[in-house]
């Protein structure tokens, strides 16, 4: 057993850190956010040129054929930097769905432009309040035309291509829908995390292509959610660790009662708890990365990582504000950016209670099987 990343993988992570430090500082994140930009176009170009978008795409489709272990390290850095780019939508969902279920023709048609960043992808499942199971969704594809309303869709405003969960002829399935063609209306929604805008996307007989076979629909949807959950968990991990470090730095430099506040056990112990919870999440994330790369034990590993990373990011982002005191509650200080990103990531793939239920169901299956 070797429970660590390789030297090459760590070098890649280091270079990602450097790139994001230069191109996506929190000052830059704020600039994009406050200008109301849907994403940071310059940063998108940089990461496309660095080849990140093609991490999991084989070379014959325009990717660099790295792998999941490389992807998750990039995800950790993107999460830590709060980068304002549709990376997760394009890479964990659109590209992953094509790799998972796309025909040879679909892969050839879509992957090269997704790899170069020319095409931006997104994922549309939710239909308003709540987290229904895929089978209970209302959007429907009939004779190759999608009708229905998807809300919210992260990056739905800017994406060119959506992977949509909808009812087909034989139940729920994955569909590819061009967002710039006929029958698509979209509008940005007001949201808490302004660094990652969300939209309402309405389809009225929009042309839709099936991904994979209809009868495998539910299994493919579950597999896609599990696969996406792993790099998303790494984004959450990156965010959690960043919050812990921010709190630590502040506790060392902020003085009260004539001493650094970090010398008080009430603050010291809080930051230790942030470290411990992040470290446990890291271990669960590492296992999930291995499971993803080796196509083994993924349903359990993905749910475990997602639950742990969600809990870690929520805890650390909340307690980071608390450690900062009054300044932490201001718009001008940075903790709220992480606090809001944490909630977006926690809810995006369905709330934590659903993932706990998914986990138990997966355990049941493993031990019965």
């Amino acid at each position: 057993m070797n429970f660590d990343f390789s030297q090459d993988q760590k070098l890649l992570q280091k270079s990602a850190q450097t790139l994001l430090k230069e191109q996506s500082s929190l000052a830059q994140v704020r600039k994009v956010m406050e200008a109301g930009e849907p994403y940071d176009r310059a940063l998108w170009k940089h990461i496309a040129e660095a080849g990140w978008l093609g991490s999991t795409i084989p070379e014959q489709y325009g990717g660099n054929g790295f792998g999941s272990l490389e992807l998750v390290l990039l995800a950790e850095e993107l999460g830590a930097s709060l980068a304002c780019v549709p990376f997760s939508s394009s890479v964990y969902f659109a590209i992953e769905a094509l790799l998972l279920a796309g025909s040879e023709e679909q892969k050839k048609k879509y992957l090269p432009d997704l790899a170069s960043g020319k095409t931006i992808g997104c994922f549309a499942m939710a239909e308003g309040l709540g987290s229904p199971s895929p089978g209970a969704l209302k959007a429907t594809v009939t004779e190759g035309k999608l009708t229905g309303a998807k809300t919210p869709v992260v990056d739905g405003e800017i994406a060119h291509l959506a992977v949509v969960v909808a009812q087909g002829a034989k139940g729920s399935a994955l569909f590819l829908v061009g967002l710039e063609g006929p029958g698509v209306k979209r509008k940005r929604l007001e949201s808490m995390d302004l660094t990652r805008p969300q939209a309402a996307v309405a389809f009225d007989a929009a042309p839709a292509e099936l991904l994979g076979s209809e009868k495998d629909g539910p299994a493919l949807i579950a597999e896609l959610l599990n696969r996406a959950a792993v790099p998303l968990a790494f984004e959450q991990l990156g965010g959690a660790v960043r919050c812990q470090k921010m709190a630590l730095e502040y506790a060392k430099s902020r003085y009260a009662f004539g001493r650094p506040i970090g010398s008080f056990q009430a603050i010291k112990h809080k930051i230790v708890d942030m470290l411990v919870i992040s470290d446990l999440a890291r271990s669960n994330c590492y296992y999930a990365a291995w499971a993803l790369e080796n196509k083994t034990d993924l349903p359990i590993a993905a749910a475990t990582a997602r639950i742990a990373a969600t809990e870690a990011f929520e805890f650390c982002s909340r307690e980071n504000i608390q450690t900062h005191g009054g300044i932490g509650f201001t718009w001008e200080a940075d903790p709220h950016l992480f606090f809001k990103r944490s909630k977006l990531l926690a809810l995006w793939l369905g709330s934590p209670p659903l993932w706990r239920e998914r986990l138990l169901a997966a355990l049941e299956q493993k031990y019965v099987a």
């Binding site: 390789s6 970090g262 010398s263 470290l275 470290d279 669960n284 742990a308 986990l359």
Partner: protein
């Protein structure tokens, strides 16, 4: 990154398994899954444990990571984990040698003289001699350096007077590691001296302490003019604090690291319990609120297990166990407390019974429930562990101290106010 055994590891695993198959019976159901907390430390059990340890020593399995020079296997930390995984599948006597092998042994290897290593390590490894730890005192627990047990030089002997407490296994131990005060005029950390003491020495009296669980496997140990040869001193006179820190770090690794590495500690037993407990119209396992808590416990137990694997990977690459090991113990003891609490709830009104004719799984969860509060205190309380991580890992400033630089004798203590 690879979770599977390397070819060398799988060869080692096969070798371990085949030796175990030839030497022990497989574990059935919940046989002794909490044997490490077991109250059952009667003479018969001690003899069985010693016999098993000697058998392991003959087979070369007693101390996987100890250097060959001291009779160990000279193996890698990962091999020790593999051995632990395989051994846990067999019904073997509880390990009562952890204080020796996990704590006293590494301390002797680091700070002991050649004579001490030659004399004490081989029988420790074979389980022929059992060790206990004489550190805490009634007035010195978390603040260990506040200890007052006095050691005075008399020729080439030292004379010990004072009292130790919370000493697990003192009543069946052959030797103890002992910290004493040799200088009351220096600051507290600079007047401590570390000894090896023969527990059969005249003047030592061991009195059992009854615990909240009703059992009594730790003790008070009283010293009245106990004589220890100077040859049994480890480290310099007044320089014992540094030696004690080596023991404490290994203690946290033994308790925290060791425990997290089992596979999904007790979780499958918890699921089995939920499935057998009537709950409304169905079973507890079908209750969504229970399922949420089970999922959280699974996630925590896996996080702990994989964190252990990360630590082992770092060790295999030449790292040494650092203060990070404190985190494992912190998480484990609270998790055990939460698991046990849930397990009792799952049993409904019967959960408060310990009668094995009624409760399931041999009342192990009731035992765990009553043990867990102690685990959060022993070997560094949750609060002390957080200080250690905060200060040594995160580099946060220590609390303002009023006792560090003044002579030990002028520090106020609990009795002074009355």
């Amino acid at each position: 990154m690879d979770f599977n055994d390397t070819p060398e590891e799988s060869k080692f695993r096969a070798e371990a398994r085949s030796w175990l198959e030839a030497s022990a019976k497989p574990r059935k159901g919940s046989d002794d899954i909490f044997s490490m907390f077991s109250e059952r430390d009667d003479g018969e059990l001690v003899q069985a444990a010693k016999a098993w340890q000697a058998k392991k020593a003959d087979g070369g399995w007693a101390c996987i990571t100890w250097p060959k020079a001291f009779g160990g296997r000279g193996g890698m930390p990962m091999q020790s984990v593999i051995w632990g995984q395989e051994e846990s599948k067999f019904n073997v006597p509880p390990n009562i040698f952890a204080i020796g092998i996990g704590m006293a042994g590494p301390t002797i290897m680091t700070h002991g003289s050649k004579e001490q290593k030659d004399r004490y390590l081989p029988p420790m490894l074979r389980g022929a001699e059992i060790w206990c730890q004489l550190f805490s005192e009634p007035g010195a627990g978390s603040d260990l350096a506040g200890l007052k047990t006095r050691a005075e030089k008399d020729g080439d002997m030292w004379v010990i007077n004072g009292q130790k407490v919370w000493t697990s296994g003192a009543h069946y131990s052959d030797f103890g590691i002992l910290v004493t005060r040799t200088n009351f005029d220096s600051p507290k950390h600079k007047g401590i001296t570390y000894f090896i003491v023969d527990m059969k020495s005249p003047g030592i009296e061991v009195r059992p302490i009854k615990q909240i669980s009703g059992g009594a496997n730790f003790n008070e140990v009283f010293f009245t003019d106990v004589r220890i040869p100077d040859a049994n001193r480890m480290g310099g006179v007044d320089k014992g604090w540094g030696v004690a820190l080596t023991t404490l770090m290994n203690e946290r690794f033994t308790i925290g690291g060791g425990m997290g590495m089992g596979s999904g500690f007790g979780f499958e037993d918890l699921i089995a319990l939920a499935k057998r407990s009537s709950w409304g119209e169905g079973t507890a396992y079908q209750d969504p609120a229970i399922r949420q808590r089970l999922a959280d416990l699974y996630v925590r137990s896996k996080g702990l297990q994989y964190t252990g694997y990360r630590a082992i990977t770092a060790l295999s690459k030449g790292g040494i166990p650092g203060p990070e090991a404190s985190g494992g113990k912190l998480v484990f003891s609270q998790m055990l407390q939460d698991m046990a609490a849930l397990a009792l709830e799952l049993q409904g009104p019967s959960g408060s019974l310990t009668d094995k004719s009624v409760v399931l799984q041999d009342a192990i969860w009731q035992e765990a429930f009553q043990w867990a509060p102690g685990l959060r205190i022993a070997g560094g309380t949750d609060e002390v562990l957080r200080n250690i991580i905060g200060e040594r890992v995160l580099g946060l400033p220590g609390d303002i101290r009023v006792d560090k630089t003044v002579p030990f004798k002028s520090i106020p203590s609990s009795g002074d106010a009355s």
